[in-house]
Amino acid sequence: MRLSENDEVGAGNWGRRGRPLTRLVHEVTALCLGEETAYREGRLTVSAPEAAAIVAAPALAEVRVSCASPGEPVRIVKLLDAVEPRTKGRGGAGIFPGILSPRRPTRGPETHVLRGAAVVAAGFLPRAQEAVVDMSGPAAPLSPLGATHNVVVEFTPAPGADWEDVDTALRQGIIALAARLAEAALEAPADAVETLPGVGEQADDGLPRVGVLTNLQTQGKFKQPFVYGRSFTDSFTTLIDPNDLDDGAVVSGQFGHPGLKNSTLLYQNHPIVEAMRRRHGSELRFAGVVLSPEPVDQAAKEFMSAHAARVCALAGWDAAVVTKEGGGNADADMSLAMDALEEMGVPAVGLFAEMAGRDGTGPSIVVPPMRATAMVSTGNYDERLVLPAVERALGAERIDLVDQAATDEIEIPMAAVYCSLSPLGWGRSTCREAA
């Protein structure tokens, strides 16, 4: 928690450019519980009592910590959120501003990343729709957590605890734990050093300025992300330094639509941001990230989408990728923003999940754009898949969705597999016509 207000490390003068950031990447290739929390040559060892003590809070009667690694016959159910372990120094040093560190734009030029690891919370919360991850079998490649070494936090709420307090305790707990685990690698040599450019540099290179408009679900308690630690519900569209996303400026508190969720781990590794960074300077000039809410009534949707499109245009973008979080309701915000962008002469591409029914013959998009035409499909929400039985389940003993033991063979829609239709573009799923 400690962060000195006088700490000037890395607070260099970068003028009108965004803040440059270097990621010191430590690859995690093995995970186990042990005496002491440590990271050595790819192996992350977690002290379960220490981890449980970090997550412990008055709203939680009990916290249990276990491991789930790729390839194991393990299923995680009722999965709530996942966080990639990262820190900027001892005690976090500015990581996760507004939650673990004071609320202010993050500073410090370096962030340690435990790539290949995740801290995961699993269990019951109200309004949460059941999310499933299999660590092996056909569903494993559909979720980002199928390929990460997961430190799974299960919990029992304290008797009489308010559910909102349970939610807050879990969010703060897994974030503090994620920062603590990354701290174990502070002295370890990095496997990779990734330097991220600041955005906002003007360059007369003739490349198009392309940014990403990311809509955040804003439907109140248990269905809202946090930006610099504050709920984004009732917020306005804002530009944000993409490198602040790396440092945890956006944290999930949204537990609906498992397949269409944007977890904290994916905000930390925003796939569109990563894709644009890779093409920065060669095919495009990465122009930044705009965050915008998804209001619930039509008039507010129309206003906020038009406003978001204007923010992108005012920021000088030549083109935009638009993303959402949530189901058909959120299609409306995305389609309206795409249409508004196109109307201003800014080409827009949206990432949609198709909702084409079990047999894939229904209309794909609930609210398609009227003017914009370029859509990426992240797969059909309704198609069903069969997951084989597993030996061990974490998160809960039963899956209410199918009313079966969590270890059984189950048939579930794609929609229940955590992040399988990632609106941020993580996944490799799409739809093709079956001729």
Binding site: L351, A374, M414, C431
Partner: protein, 341 residues
């Protein structure tokens, strides 16, 4: 391979409209149009049985499709062919529903009909092959159908070039590039001037040509129709509150009003408090009777037609529209007021 053919009472030689209520039956081997189909498919494949049913029975009797499907299933077919149904609406719907039910069970099925047959939209994930508009075009229609069937039996796909029409199911696949990279590719393509690139086909919007204005309203019988789910208080015919599969008709011949307490809305998509306080807010019979008395309209149709417009599939909504239009036309109504919620 074993093939079962589904046809209606007319092509089975049972009879015309008078035999439309005939229940399902099965016959050994090919019958009627199935004979040419069998010839074209050659010796490697056999039409082992023909199942037929009257069009009225198939499309309106409860459980009829299940009965037909179980007769077909008993033959353990490798593939099922239905039609061609041309533009015959009920026959097309029967072919489509039989084929859709079989495909949902994992039995490959092909239906043949004209593009404008309402059955095209109801074939689920089954393959639909284009036929001519009328039975006179049976020859070329069967030729195209047989070619498509032969391709499917050989494990090949059937596409537009083979005469495939209707919906093609979209299936999940894993591709090499993540969606984020594909999105950036697409945005660069758009910047490069490509306006057509997309991974999701744009939805087809059906443009509706408005009917010509009514010549003389004072000589025209007007009907009241609604998707507002207004039904007699007991909801005797169990109209659904959402995802309607049917529409209903209620007599208003002897009525000047629809009193609160006798009628109510069972719509599940909005708060019905105000509708139920005064049902005329959904079906304006009171005002319509005044207009009738004043001679502004030539008359009011004896019944109002009703369904619920709440999460209704486009296919069902289109079918209701077709059926309402036909029904009103038969009854002499030449204009309708559709109240929507």
């Amino acid at each position: 391979m074993r093939i079962v053919h589904y046809i209606n009472q007319f092509f089975a030689g049972v009879g015309g409209e008078d035999a439309a209520g005939t229940p399902p039956s099965r016959t050994d081997g090919a019958v009627g149009p199935g004979r040419r189909l069998a010839t074209l498919l050659g010796d490697d494949h056999e039409v082992v049985a023909t199942v037929s049913c009257g069009d009225d029975h198939a499309t309106s009797a409860a459980g009829a499709i299940d009965e037909i499907v179980s007769l077909i299933r008993a033959e353990q077919p490798d593939l099922v062919v239905a039609g061609p149904a041309f533009t015959s609406g009920r026959y097309g719907l029967a072919c489509a529903r039989v084929a859709a039910a079989l495909v949902a069970e994992g039995v490959p099925a092909v239906a043949a009909m004209h593009d404008e047959n309402p059955g095209v939209e109801e074939a689920g994930a089954a393959v639909v092959v284009r036929s001519g508009a009328v039975a006179r075009e049976m020859g070329p229609s069967i030729d195209r159908l047989a070619a498509a069937v032969a391709r499917l039996l050989a494990g090949e796909t059937v596409g537009e070039a083979d005469g495939r029409i209707g919906k093609v199911p979209r299936r999940n696949v894993l591709v090499e590039k993540p969606a984020a990279e594909r999105a950036v590719d697409l945005v660069l393509a758009r910047l490069g001037g490509d306006r057509s690139a997309t991974e999701v086909p744009l939805p087809r919007f059906d443009p509706v040509t408005p009917a010509a204005p009514v010549d003389d309203l004072s000589k025209t019988m007007v009907a009241l129709v609604t998707e507002g789910a207004l039904v007699p208080d007991e909801n005797p015919d169990r109209l659904e509150s959402a995802r309607a599969t049917k529409w209903l008709r209620y007599r208003i011949q002897d009525r000047d009003s629809l009193p609160a307490g006798e009628f109510r809305s069972v719509h599940g998509g909005f708060s019905t408090v105000w509708a139920n306080e005064d049902p005329h807010r959904i079906v304006p019979l009171d005002v319509a009777r005044e207009l009738e008395r004043e001679g502004l309209i030539g008359g009011l149709h004896d019944e109002y037609l009703v369904t619920v417009g709440n999460g209704t599939s486009v296919a069902d909504a289109r079918r209701f529209g077709v059926e309402w239009a036909a029904d009103l036309r038969r009854s002499g109504a030449r204009a309708a007021i559709l109240t929507a919620t």
